[in-house]
């Protein structure tokens, strides 16, 4: 009954009242995000041996992120779609700016300072890329997508930011960005043989690319293949992380009782290795619960994608869901020693303001899609 009521409200009035929109927001999803952020609070409390070091800041940032997300959720999705190109170009401009003018950290130029905030434009870029690609593909028909010339601009839209990110250099984020773009292409209906062609090309180019890699990036790959070869050098992180995970066992060592984390054997436990910290203290059970919560977020994104009526929102939801999934997958696979280590944080849980804000920004877009799921877009173009 309420469904028809909502629909009536929306169709009658393009700019439905703020209260009505708030009513439409999926609060169970917001609750899910809060639960994950709470997990982050607990883990960071342990990582900092108290709330002062990381946990309090994390809570404050999440609070800001929540406001940002809900604010964006109330903006009409059609309005957002109109400004997709502006957002995309802004993201590219920031990437150029960070290359020219950014702060160097860990051998790469990744940050720019915006007031008190350190922004990582590559994080923002992924959201803007999804937005831009969704806008490009929203009105394209099946035939039109089959036309290779139509695909040239979106391919460039992917390659330009990926190239800029690789130049920082940041291999992990560059690859994730490319994959997010690929997911949108795939969902939009780009023919499968084109993907096969690109994958084959990538396979051939890999040896050449390996030679272009920086030493530290190569070290990650070689130590991944044999971490014990250099136990105090580059393989140290992987080995200590696996020891921490494994020693957690089924039920974990207990809150604040993780020896690997608290005795600093675990590197960067508040950022990249926060999941290890959780798994050490709360065991396999805790780790699987957290993993399930994160999987629910991805599931929600896909559920929104499948229920939404217009291509723009559908592509946006798939892109954002894939982006979130790749974050989680790369991070957890990294700390379990399944793929080479590469500074990817765990969204909503790791310490760090930039990642938190861009993640919440993405969810804001997703909620806007959800809230405005019945909004009318223009017709499909031939």
């Amino acid at each position: 009954v309420s469904g028809t009521f909502e629909r009536r409200l929306l169709t009658r009035d393009r700019g439905a009242g703020i209260l009505q929109k708030l009513w439409l927001i999926p609060w169970s999803f917001v609750l899910l995000l809060c639960a994950i952020a709470a997990v982050g609070y607990v883990a960071l409390y342990s990582a900092g041996s108290g709330p002062e070091a990381y946990a309090t800041k994390h809570a404050i940032r999440f609070g800001f992120g929540l406001v940002l997300m809900l604010g964006i959720a109330l903006i009409d999705i059609r309005f957002l779609a109109r400004f997709a190109s502006v957002g995309y170009l802004g993201g590219v401009a920031l990437l150029v700016l960070v290359l020219v003018h950014g702060n160097v950290g860990k051998g790469a130029q990744r940050w720019i300072d915006i007031g008190p905030l350190q922004l990582q434009p590559s994080e923002l870029m992924k959201i803007m890329l999804v937005l831009g690609l969704a806008a490009w593909f929203q009105r394209a028909s099946w035939e039109r997508i089959g036309n290779p010339l139509f695909l040239v601009p979106p391919v460039l839209m992917v390659l330009v930011p990926v190239g800029l990110i690789l130049k920082q250099p940041n291999l992990g984020t560059g690859l994730i960005t490319a994959m997010v773009g690929g997911a949108v292409f795939f969902a939009a209906g780009v023919r499968l043989w084109k993907f096969a062609l690109i994958l084959a090309g990538a396979g051939l180019a890999a040896p050449i690319a390996y030679r272009q890699l920086h030493d530290y990036q190569r070290a990650r790959i070689t130590t991944f293949l044999d971490p014990e070869s250099d136990p105090l050098g580059a393989g140290y992180n992987i080995i200590q992380s696996k020891i921490a995970l494994g020693s957690g066992g089924l039920w974990g060592k207990g809150f604040l009782q993780g020896t690997q984390g608290h005795l600093n054997f675990l590197p960067e436990k508040q950022t990249d290795f926060i999941f290890t910290m959780i798994a050490e203290e709360f065991g396999l059970v805790g780790a699987l619960v957290v993993l399930w919560l994160l999987a629910l977020v991805v599931l929600f994104c896909f559920a929104v994608a499948l229920r939404y009526r217009h291509q723009f929102g559908r592509l946006l939801a798939v892109g954002l869901g894939t982006n979130f999934f790749l974050y989680v997958f790369v991070n957890v696979a990294m700390v379990t020693g399944s793929i080479p280590v590469g500074g990817v944080p765990l969204p909503l849980i790791s310490h760090g303001g930039s990642a938190m804000l861009t993640t919440m920004l993405g969810f804001g877009l997703l909620l806007s899609v959800f809230v405005h799921r019945d909004a009318e877009f223009g017709p499909v173009r031939e």
Partner: protein, 619 residues
Amino acid sequence: MKGVRREEEQRRGVFTRRALALGLGQLGLFGLLATRLYRLQSEEGERYATLAEENRVSARLIPPPRGRVLDRGGRVVAGNKLNWRALLVAEQTQDVGATLETFSRIVPLQEHERARIERELRRRRRFIPVTVREFLSWEEMARIEVNAPDLPGILIDVGTTRLYPEGEHLAHLVGYVAPPAERDMDGDPLLELPGIRVGRAGLERHHDQALRGRAGAVQLEVNAVGRVIRELERREGVPGLDVQISVDAELQKAIRGRIEEGTSVVVLDARNGEVLAMASQPSFDPNLFNAGVSAVQWREWTRNRATPLINKTTNGLYAPGSTFKMIVALAALEARVVTPGERVGCPGYMDLGDSRFHCWNRHGHGGVDMRGGIKHSCDVYFYELAKRTGIDRIAAMANRFGLGVDLEIELPGTRRGLVPTRAWRQAQGKPWALGDTVVHGIGQGFYQLTPLSLATMAARLATGRAVQPHLTHSIGGRPVRGTRAEDWPSLGIPERDLRLMREGMWAVVNEEGGTARTSRLPAALGMMAGKTGSVQVRRVTREQRERGFKVENQPREWRPHALFVAYAPYDNPLYAVSVVVEHGMSGSGAAAPLARDVMVEVFNRFRAGPGPRVAEAKP
């Protein structure tokens, strides 16, 4: 409009299929992660739990304090003092070079120290401390502490180091300590601790096991940089035992104060063989070994012809000369080839085949009996006795008096010396000639004896017991065997023969015409019995003798050594002494007066006899 709807449905269909494929694929990958977690945390959990425990717990050894060495009076002659060190933990500083640079401005570092630090930093793991500088003064420590914020990675730590308060005076006996070498590694984990020292010479080496003690162990929880978080378990070690020695440090210092380079003096408690003093000049400062001896210093010691590192009382080898004559006499008596009263004519020489053997007195002693032979040290008398007795019987008697045998003193590397026999000579492929026997009758020839063994001979002559010289009085407060006279068996020499020797030696010092008449003791102290000896270091040829050879005109290193062996008091022997003065010209002129001075010093110091210890080991 209809076309548009169809388009829309087609597009939606493709999207739905592909989104489902993507979503399910991602769900599948989540499943993979869950499987991976299950493998790590459940199946291999135990293995990783062990690894985590190994990470967390670090077992460390606690070095026990090394036992002290105390002298007869309970004075510490080898002790421990605190050693403040600056250590560097590479992991706790961003820039090792900068930290060392700053440190160097506060406490200057030499070029070779820097090289050593950098070598150790390369060799060790980054969280293991490396010694930057030992033996910091209070002032240096204060400056380091004040500048601590500029010295990341620098820690101040306290260990112990060896201290020898008497310095060079007891260096030859007590020895010194040094970091263990590869060959010292006997499986004791203690030896692997940084900064640990083992006895490298002397009593420090002989009693190393007792002095060393046993390491304690502590289990510590450490963090990734090796910093200790808390102590989990502790097992106390056993401190090293104190060793009390029989030497009197004050007596030793007094004796060393009056002897010159190349002189050795040994003073024994004649009744039980306890060493009261053992002085050899020159010596070295054992404290220098604590910090490691520099190459320059080492070269200076080893190239010095006066051999400061060598204890001449145990490692200096000398022919005994006339001090050996009692042995020849006892061997002759035991072989029954002479009677004490038989007179041998001394014309100043003895002819044997083509060779002529001279007496020291060119005018001859006339008719000489055994007592007179000893008193005047008549060479011809002992040529005759040796000829009758034979070298092997003389050698056997010498061995019974502690000459040329292992005396088992607690000083590693002590020489046993050489007492030649017919078999020994034949082993060299040379025949033993009768002329050789004659020469050996006056203690010349192949003999190579240590001053310690000569003092032992004097003690055995005085007591008739097979006393052995030893330095250790007690270990950890428990006396060792050999501190009582009854611990030593009789030599099995008839008392009548021994008394004859003692009378001869008494006459040497106390009778008109004795060779050491001028060196008798002040009457209040009783009487000393002794025997002089002078040993050629170069053979005097017939031409030299005919041209009026005078030793006084020879270069110092060609002059004869001067020897004297003695015991006192004559009627109740307490102390036995041997003195060797290298190139001292004559026993009566150089060695006997020194022996008298030593005896006076000993008597003054032990008025009531060496007797019970003044003080036992103090805690």
